[in-house]
């Protein structure tokens, strides 16, 4: 008897159980605390950006649901080694996908395996879970200390 949805796929369950890049980063050049007051998801995203505007290192710490944790884990793996501008474009694409404004099945995109979060559009109350680490990453780039989603 399987769940009839695309939300809790094996990749997401695996990243929830064994999150990658799950650590504080004292040498970070940018960081931002992201918090959803409605559900309590609470993460800090750390970035180390070099003189060429490349994200050399990216990590996160915190607690929350499986969707937010897996999304954080997958995001950190995906952004490592990318340019800041490119990361901002990927945020835009990811955001459009989870809101249902971009369909990775039919439209061109640069999200790679992040496209597996497309099923989240069927769960409106969970979209914020997937997008919280991305908002935190953008907050870090903007030098904000805190971002909230609700």
């Amino acid at each position: 008897m399987s769940y009839d949805n695309e939300l809790y796929q094996q990749v997401i369950l695996d990243h929830n159980k064994k999150p990658r890049n799950f650590r504080e980063m004292p040498e970070a050049t940018h960081s931002c605390h992201g918090f959803n007051p409605l559900c309590g998801d609470d993460y800090t995203v750390y970035l180390k950006i070099n003189a060429e505007d490349v994200i050399e290192e990216v990590s996160f710490m915190g607690s929350g649901c499986a969707i937010s944790k897996a999304s954080s884990s997958l995001m950190t793996g995906f952004l490592k080694g990318r340019k800041v501008d490119e990361s901002k474009e990927i945020f835009e694409e990811f955001h459009k996908m989870v809101l249902g404004e971009m369909d990775p099945e039919t439209q061109e995109h640069h999200l790679g395996k992040l496209a597996l979060f497309k099923g989240i559009r069927e769960f409106p109350s969970r979209i914020k879970c997937a997008s919280l680490p991305w908002h935190s990453m953008m907050g870090a780039l903007a030098k904000s200390e805190n971002v909230t989603t609700e």
């Binding site: 008897m1 769940y3 949805n5 809790y8 559900c39 309590g40 649901c65 499986a66 969970r126 879970c129």
Partner: protein, 417 residues
Amino acid sequence: MPESDTLTTVKPPFDVDKIRADFPVLSQKVHGKPLVYLDNAATTQKPRRVIEKVRQFDSEEYGTVRRGSYKLSEHATQMFEDVRQKVAGLFNAADKKEIIFTSGTTQAINLVAYSFGKAFVKEGDEIIISNIEHHANTVPWQVLCEDKGAHLKVIPVNDRGELIMEEYKKLLSSKTRMVSVNHVSNALGTVNPIKEITRLAHEAGAKVLIDGAQSTPHLKIDVQDIDCDFYTFSGHKMYGPSGVGGLYGKYDVLKEMPPYVTGGDMIRQVTIEKTLYADPPARFEAGTPAISQVMGLGEAVDYIQEIGLDKIAEYEHALLEYGTRVLSEIDGLNIIGTAAHKASILSFHIDVIHPHDVVTLLDQDGIAVRGGHHCAQPTMQRFGVSATTRASASFYNKFEELDALAASVRRAIKLFS
């Protein structure tokens, strides 16, 4: 699970299937599965006769209340006041003038915090709440204390989620102006010893407000026996409409209190220089009230009284015991709130799954439960969690639905293990 099976044989004191047939919403399917509605602590569903009463009133009898001197208005006013009498009867208030209609418990508590606070709370005074209050019975008192330079004191709870009465006694003093606690905790289900709480507060010279949002549809309540000064309730948690509820207040206390919201209907005479206020309850009911919703509330009161609150409490207790049993058998699941006296609320924490994932997975099985902090963050902090999953049962729930809950929780745990 032989013991659980034994419990299913407890015969409900009424025909649950017949009661379920009264609630149109319960017969639907969600994600292809029969709806199992277990979020009754958040809001209850409405029986057909409540829905029908509002429809019929709006279609045939609607008119403004307490103003018009034509037939529709006079009739609506009479019906409106009849509901006030019914509500007074439900709580065994001495007089229907002691019932004030509000938008619900939140507004009722704000009314008392503002109005009683304005007249009777001064710098250095103390207000006592508990560690297991809803934000609606926390924030209004914080605001009052901030405005007046008064202090908020908090009754701690033990690991079962019961108020520590010895600590409460120590908090009481001649500085205490108000003790405001819930009858039943919405987050844990604890039933508080409100009669004893009230007696002790009165000995110290303080007034007492009991937040009854969670208790009203599940326990028989007698405000004269409790002797509390205020008792609050919400229509949408007692099988009635949302947007209506109320406040019981002892008349002697109410008549010393200034208005909360001002405007039409709450006056005796207005001149540009001065306004004379009406007596309670009108003093606290400025503006056109939720007339149609009050009609629905009256029908809900009739409905639960016809079933009988004693029978409701008896059956819901059996559901609580059964639900506690089937959930306790699940490895890795901890029930938070294990008071000796509890209402049918099961708040739990699962080691490997966050409550929001539990809720989404249970929803796939047609089961509606709440995940979150239940507007009681200080309660969550006390138990060291950010959130719980909460299943809350009503007299229209069945033992089989609690089996379905347990099976769905097991399935979720398996997926995450």
